[in-house]
């Protein structure tokens, strides 16, 4: 395959996401401008200007009308995807680690850091009530006692949020009561990425403890575990095949002391059920920070510490491949 290399960021890419139809790819990085790309030919649609710090997270509404980004400049911003204009800006006490639109797109969620004497919180706003954003009065603030949130996503419509924590906990929150429904401890180090599968019945975690794990969303039961020998920064589930792709590598701070070959920066494809690796794709010069499957399942993208995004379109060979068992 001939991957497309998208070079719109000056610093390492932190998160990438496709929209629902998969024609647009959203990326944010440690520089201040998140980007939007046409996924088919790698053409850049635009950038969102406004943030003054590293951007940690990005999410797009189901109808691709607006985009939310969370940044280390202590703001969350909502953008118009068509024009790139900033629609809302929420001032936060600390850096924002994760953010997202709910299934309906009416609610937004973001999580804050536990730094500068501030507590880690998960906050919710209702976009339909403009006063909430204006007066900085969240619909709901859930205080996270204990280990801080390192990743969070909306789950099961607009009712629950799943969060991954620094100590390896995975928690499910009920936004009606504002409290934790269930906590599981399957990871020993921080959970850096959470991604839902196509029908939102399961989600996959990626953790620095060298594992990615598949959980049932309703019960938070551990279903499968994928083991590697380096920290996993991101994991994504194929929408059409029983495959998961894992990306990661040596910690960015150790990269200069390891060669590319030993850093193990390649993306790895695992069979979802048999938990066995069957293929790998090379490309990045540094660890992969974020991975996303195109919703059509025919390509996936990876954003790396090297600042590049690579759009990999699968060869026919991949679709003909049958896992032997």
């Amino acid at each position: 395959m001939k991957p497309l290399m998208l070079h719109g960021h000056e610093r390492s890419v932190t998160q990438i996401k496709y929209n629902r139809e998969g024609d647009l790819l959203f990326s944010c990085s440690k520089d201040t401008e998140p980007n939007v790309w046409w996924s088919l030919n790698g053409e850049r649609l635009g950038t969102f200007k406004g943030h003054t710090g590293a951007c940690w997270c990005i999410d797009v509404k189901w109808d691709t009308s607006s985009v939310i980004t969370g940044s280390a400049d202590n703001t969350v911003r909502v953008w118009d995807c068509k024009t790139g204009a900033c629609l809302h800006k929420v001032d936060v006490n600390t850096a924002v680690r994760s953010c997202g639109f709910s299934y309906s797109g009416n609610l937004i969620m973001y999580s804050t850091d536990k730094t500068m004497g501030k507590e880690c919180t998960i906050n919710l706003y209702d976009l339909r009530d403009a006063a909430q954003m204006k007066n900085n009065e969240p619909l709901l603030t859930m205080l996270v006692s204990g280990s801080k949130v390192t990743s969070a996503i909306w789950a099961s419509m607009d009712e629950t949020i799943v969060s991954g924590h620094e100590n390896g906990d995975v928690c499910k929150w009920d936004i009606k009561t504002g409290s934790i429904v269930k906590t599981v401890r399957e990871h020993s180090k921080n959970v850096v990425d959470l991604q839902m599968n196509e029908d939102q019945s399961m989600f996959i975690t990626a953790s620095k403890d060298n594992h990615a794990k598949l959980f049932d969303l309703a019960t938070l039961d551990l279903l499968k575990s994928y083991k590697t020998e380096r920290p996993v920064n991101s994991a994504s589930i194929s929408p059409i095949k029983p495959h998961v792709v894992l990306g990661g590598g040596q910690e960015a701070m150790d990269v200069t002391t390891t060669s590319t070959r030993h850093g193990k920066f390649d993306a790895r494809l695992y069979h979802m059920v048999f938990e066995e690796e069957f293929a790998r794709v090379k490309g990045h010069f540094g660890p992969i920070n974020s991975l996303a499957f195109n919703p059509d399942g025919k390509s996936y993208s990876s954003g790396g510490e090297d600042g590049y995004i690579r759009v990999n379109t699968f060869d026919p060979h991949y679709f003909e491949f049958e896992f032997e068992f």
């Binding site: 635009g46 950038t47 109808d63 794709v281 090379k282 491949f321």
Partner: protein, 277 residues
């Protein structure tokens, strides 16, 4: 689908204004391939012709996507013309998905090295203790033993081993005495791959990778198939390389398929020659 920029960028226009003897860029569309020919001066002030070919594809997309295609570019991309900006969108080198039949292969060189390190007894030069010299707790208080008895027998022996080649010429580390001859460790992998690679020639034009895989799968696990294809027509060029996991499988494949009639042609199978580097 947005197509590539046909208008010269402002930078080119400035250049064109200054040096008008450059022919204007031309654009030709033929059999779904758009060819853009441009002229410019390179760094050595020589005229160069740049030919870029684009494949034009028509895709049917849903209405919402089609509407989004009409969006204007914004932000840092607002000055880009139609089509990808070559500064941001780079077509990467071909990369292959490596199918792994087995679990993670441990790198043997790394392992032996770390084992060797473990076996070496660490002795401090200062106090002869069981730790590195720099970590010695007495390093400030005791003068190193080396300084006291200047000539140690070990050092002399080491000095004699090094041959006195002092011509003043640079000798690469691999050619120096004591260095292991042969390729460096980073070369090993590709070498191993080539050993189990066979070349099939006289394939018909309609052959596809799946056909080749079908033909050779019975001989053993295949790690890579490369079928040479025409860039534009995607038809086979008539030869292919197949890399097996094991050399024995490759040998059996040569014996089995050589002279085999396939698609009204007689196949010719032989060992792939190592690529010249």
């Amino acid at each position: 689908m947005p197509v590539a920029d046909t208008k010269p960028s402002w930078a080119d226009q400035v250049e064109l204004g200054e040096e008008s003897e450059l022919p204007l860029p031309t654009e030709k569309i033929e059999n779904g391939v758009k060819t853009i020919t441009e002229w410019k001066y390179n760094d050595d002030n020589k005229k160069v012709k740049v030919i870029r070919q684009y494949k034009i594809e028509q895709r049917k997309v849903s209405k919402v996507i089609a509407k989004r295609k009409a969006w204007r570019k914004y932000g840092a991309a607002s000055n880009d013309g139609a089509g990808p900006n070559p500064a941001n969108t780079i077509i990467a080198e071909d990369s292959f998905m490596q199918f792994t039949g087995t679990k993670e292969e441990e790198d043997p060189t790394v392992d032996t090295k770390s084992k060797e390190l473990k076996n070496v007894r660490v002795t401090c030069r200062t106090c002869k203790g069981d730790h590195w010299t720099t970590k010695c707790p007495y390093k400030d208080s005791i003068v190193p033993i080396e300084l006291e008895n200047d000539k140690k027998p070990g050092q002399e022996a080491a000095k004699q081993e090094v041959p006195p080649v002092r011509t003043g010429k640079y000798v690469p580390p691999s050619m120096r005495a004591g260095a292991e001859r042969g390729k460096g460790e980073s070369m090993k992998d590709s070498r191993r791959d080539e050993q189990a690679t066979i070349r099939v020639t006289n394939l018909s034009e309609d052959t596809r990778e799946s056909d080749v895989q079908e033909l050779f799968r019975n001989f053993g696990t295949i790690s890579r198939i490369y079928l040479a294809k025409d860039k534009q027509t995607q038809m086979s060029k008539g030869f292919a390389f197949i890399t097996f996991h094991r050399r024995e499988d490759a040998a059996r494949a040569i014996a089995g398929v050589s002279g085999f009639g396939y698609d009204h042609l007689i196949l010719n199978v032989e060992w792939a020659k190592p690529s010249t580097q």
